[in-house]
Symmetry: D2
Subunit: 348 residues, 4 copies
């Protein structure tokens, strides 16, 4: 049994706690939050666990092997670093840190101490996203053409991050998982209606070395809740609608065929294909349950998590670039070919 401590019992913490309680490989021992009323709620729901207003109690507890951190983004780095330094495995909320330099420091600390560092990129562990990756990997879609996601709703305005760091991070983590490559440049635009410093409407385009383009539309001020992603391929196309209760994924046998030869390119002889649509059955297990099993498996069997620190770093690198581009009204920002090497230099 892996002894678990959870730091932060706000919006997401209760889900972590519930899943750690139910998982077979883990034993939840303690929950920390500086708000006494949140701890009272945790005790009502789980009378058997300890609670504390000091996260240091968790780091000092020798029975605790691993720590899950679900606190505001700006505290991810110091808390994760202290936890690693205290010899704990770490599962940290997304985004892993507020800068890629900090992400790299965590990666290096975890590697030095041979500890598991995993980011809670929850969507990667849903049946829907795993099915999409499976379809792409086995070639059902052909060449990837575009990824186009709309992730909008009313609220919740975040205090310490903008809408890109809050919502686009989900898509970036999905793209990191299902694409075989990372973006080479990012262009972003956005606007803040409440505070100019914090955009609540934003649009992000990611460019790749290959002829594929990704676009994310994120908005905290939409009257509708939309969670829809289109993934275009040269053979088939996917519509992933996460608001649907059933048939979240629909695969369309649709596309275009372009005739070969210079003449036909000139004449653009494009013909259209339209065949069956099907909605594959997908695993409906709660993502966090799958994720915590994976975290446990990585700890017990010394495996590298799917969403390890490097995945967290790659996502934060794109977020940083998007923020810079957004401040410059869409001017694209290049992503280093070898961000880790560059950062190491920067840290040197």
């Amino acid at each position: 049994m892996i002894g678990i401590g959870v730091i932060g019992y706000g919006y997401w913490g209760p889900n972590l706690v519930r899943n750690f309680v139910e998982a077979q490989e883990t034993q939840l021992l303690s929950v920390a939050d500086f708000r006494e009323d949140r701890l009272a709620l945790a005790r009502r729901r789980h009378p058997e666990i300890e609670t504390t207003t000091s996260y240091a109690d968790i780091l000092d507890n020798p029975r605790i092997d691993a720590v899950a951190i679900s606190t505001p983004v700006s505290t991810h780095f110091p808390l994760a670093m202290e936890a690693l330094s205290a010899g704990k495995h770490v599962l940290v909320e997304k985004p892993i840190t507020t800068t890629s330099a900090d992400a790299l420091r965590l990666i290096e600390e975890a590697e030095r101490r041979d500890l598991v560092l995993m980011v809670d990129h929850t969507f990667v562990y849903t049946g829907a996203v795993r099915k999409i990756r499976e379809l792409i990997k086995k070639g059902s879609l052909g060449d990837l053409l575009y990824y186009d996601s709309t992730r909008i709703n009313l609220g919740l305005f975040q205090h310490d991050v903008d809408v890109i760091w809050d919502l686009a991070v989900h898509d970036l983590s999905i793209m990191d998982y299902i694409f075989g490559e990372s973006p080479v440049a990012v262009s972003a635009t956005g606007l803040g209606h409440v505070s100019a410093a914090t955009e609540n409407v934003a649009y992000v385009t990611a460019f790749y070395d290959t002829p594929v383009i990704a676009h994310l539309n994120v908005n905290w001020l939409s009257p509708l809740k939309v969670r829809r992603t289109l993934i275009g391929g040269s053979k088939q196309m996917i519509v992933y609608d996460d608001v649907e209760n059933s048939e979240k994924i629909r695969v369309y046998d649709k596309g275009i065929t372009v005739k070969n030869g210079p003449e036909s390119v000139y004449k653009m002889l494009v013909s259209y294909r339209s065949g069956d649509m099907y909605a594959p059955q997908i695993d409906m297990t709660e993502a966090l349950r799958t994720e915590i099993q994976h975290f446990s498996d990585c700890i017990l069997n010394r495996k590298t998590p799917i969403t390890d620190g490097h995945a967290g770093l790659r996502v934060v690198s794109v977020l940083e670039a998007a923020t810079r581009s957004m401040k410059d009204r869409g001017r694209s920002v290049l992503l280093g070919d070898h961000p880790k090497a560059q950062l190491q230099m920067a840290l040197a």
Copy 2:
């Protein structure tokens, strides 16, 4: 009765012809197209009209007072200029021209000859868009916050324009009509999968002097047909779904309230409002019928069209800027404060 000639009987021309035939104020006299099979089709449908493979026959016909041009975009300018020079009023397909300089030349020619120059910005004449403008003008939405449109489907690949000039032009003409102001800068990104020179997926952000942002998602390679526009206001928000047969417009009494005072700005005390939704009844008259009545009214009563040459010019100016931004991966392109003055200088 206004004598009408139509040049171009391809995809859109038949709709123009049918509506000119049915309108009370107009008499359709002649249709020109260089393809004999299209003219044969026109004759089958309308045995009473003349057809010709030479548009010059239309311009030379003294019984023809006005000419409607529905030909490929690159021919709009020369045909419209010749028609104006021949003393004909002109209704020209969108976009008005391929450059703002050409649009300005048409405006000047029409003004010099005191002729009506109108662009076929069809959506402006739909009941839905007129209802949206009415709601905005009477203050129902409060301050405009954003305009966010998705206009995607499979096909039809155009030969001489990219997806922005084909699809985003609709939104730009709607925005020109319902907003009280023009964009000051544009950022665009996109990708061509068939030909690098012609983007078939594109994303456009328009910036304004006021805290409002507009975004257009256009795509010729989508498995779904989507025609959905969200218009966010500080009081109410509109969802305009043109694919719906009924309830195309839904008005949501939703939004946020931010408490005043420096302390609360610091703390971001954002609260959410959520009230009734309603779908106002809208006029379902065919847009082209309304548009042709307006064209006739402008000719007969010497009025300025809602979608006059200046509207056409404003839209083309944004399209030009978007094209330039897209070639530069999203770097924003400023739109002149006084495009007409600038262009006049450029032409001098």
Copy 3:
């Protein structure tokens, strides 16, 4: 070429005329309607055809081989009988007649004269319904369990028939085509809000000799337009939504499995299956085009139409029974095992 005359140019007649004009095997010669304004409309649309206010002109015209009748239901029998007597093949609007006795008379007259008698059960010729029949015939659904259709909208109130004869007739014709058997009894309920004599809301249940049940919900006073049919099978289930523009048919790999053995029957060990859903591509050819080709084929090649007089008779027999049941608040009415034999006796 088959010479065609159309009697009745009201709501449906123009569709018949347009399709007869476009079909290769037929030549539309004449249209009859007693309303001069309808004939004027027909001439505007089709300047080449003759029009007459007297249907006798059509029956007397030796160049006319076949007559299509799209007039009020009560006139179907006398017009079709006269047309057959004049030696014309007949395509008659649904329902074929107002009584099964009349339907039988038409069948006998057509057989005696060796003429084609076909009923315009339009839905039978849609790609969607043909696909459903194909899926059932090849066993995809397993045993049929139920057919459950909702066909509701606002209007159009009919003058001479109730909502069952107007709307349920579509489902009865589909059921007649896709089921391998006819109902043995019918129960119907309904209510008239405008006139007690003409129900505008009605519900029909059809019973079969096998464990399958059909139910039709028809309504002229619904705020929504719904055209949705569920077809349950022991292996797969179909949802047919005719209001959808794409994916009209969805096939669900869902169902139940019941364990064998007396003990398990007692305990009702029902388990659920839930697999993929798929939407097969369907032929989108206009149904009437397919139907008219079939009508021509039957005339030219002496074939029996899919929707022949017997199909029309079977549908009218169920409609008659439903009407009787509805007057008696749902008491079920038996359908004769051999309606033709019974009717022949009745007529004797």
Copy 4:
């Protein structure tokens, strides 16, 4: 504080327990179930409560003032009768009993002992149904024309009741609450595919003394989950879609207008109205929370519950009639004008 015992911790019991725990006026003391594993689950979730395999422990407990019964339908009557006899107030799952005679016995026992007897007609306490009743009561709909509900899904097959007693009971309780009158006759049809004795597909029509009709379509074998009710009125119409997360209720300003005068009745001059649609904001409080507050209020302040024993009796009377009609293939069964009087005679 009202001391509460809950008998039955199966599908619904946990919801009762959770709401009694959270309510301010009640203190949950004990839960009974004959399955030890269910009690273990209850203890894990609520370590503070007592559990017992003998419901008699609850009836004997003097600190318990009220008992909630969520057990199989066939046990409702004996358990509720024993509880009342032990002086406990009773909240019993729907349907109240399996026969109207038993329902009447409970009513009389509760009245004799001056105890609260309430049926858990949950939907009556939803914000949606309360809003519908409000709209009807204030005359927004005009005269009621019809109530048409579809309540279908895959599973759960019940062991001791058919699909009418399982699903139609919800609609009957809603109708009992929002209509001002009770049905006078019922016609029902149905079929059992697993067991002939237990119908899993059924259709129920209820007739009234006034020109209104109600129809319920219930099915345990549907590939889709549908929870949609249309309520037609002479002024406005409601679509209540309980599967929607937002805008569960839509009010359509649609309908027909019939011109007066014998001539126009003859000619059926029906014209159609079509105006705005609106979706009123509704209270999203969990229905069971509202219901338990009402139960507490009735106990503390000696009020009659909205869903008292008489409401339960009226619903069971319709269910009984539907069952009888279904066995007789739709023959309508009359409901007594004064069922209580009739039943009292029957019991005498």
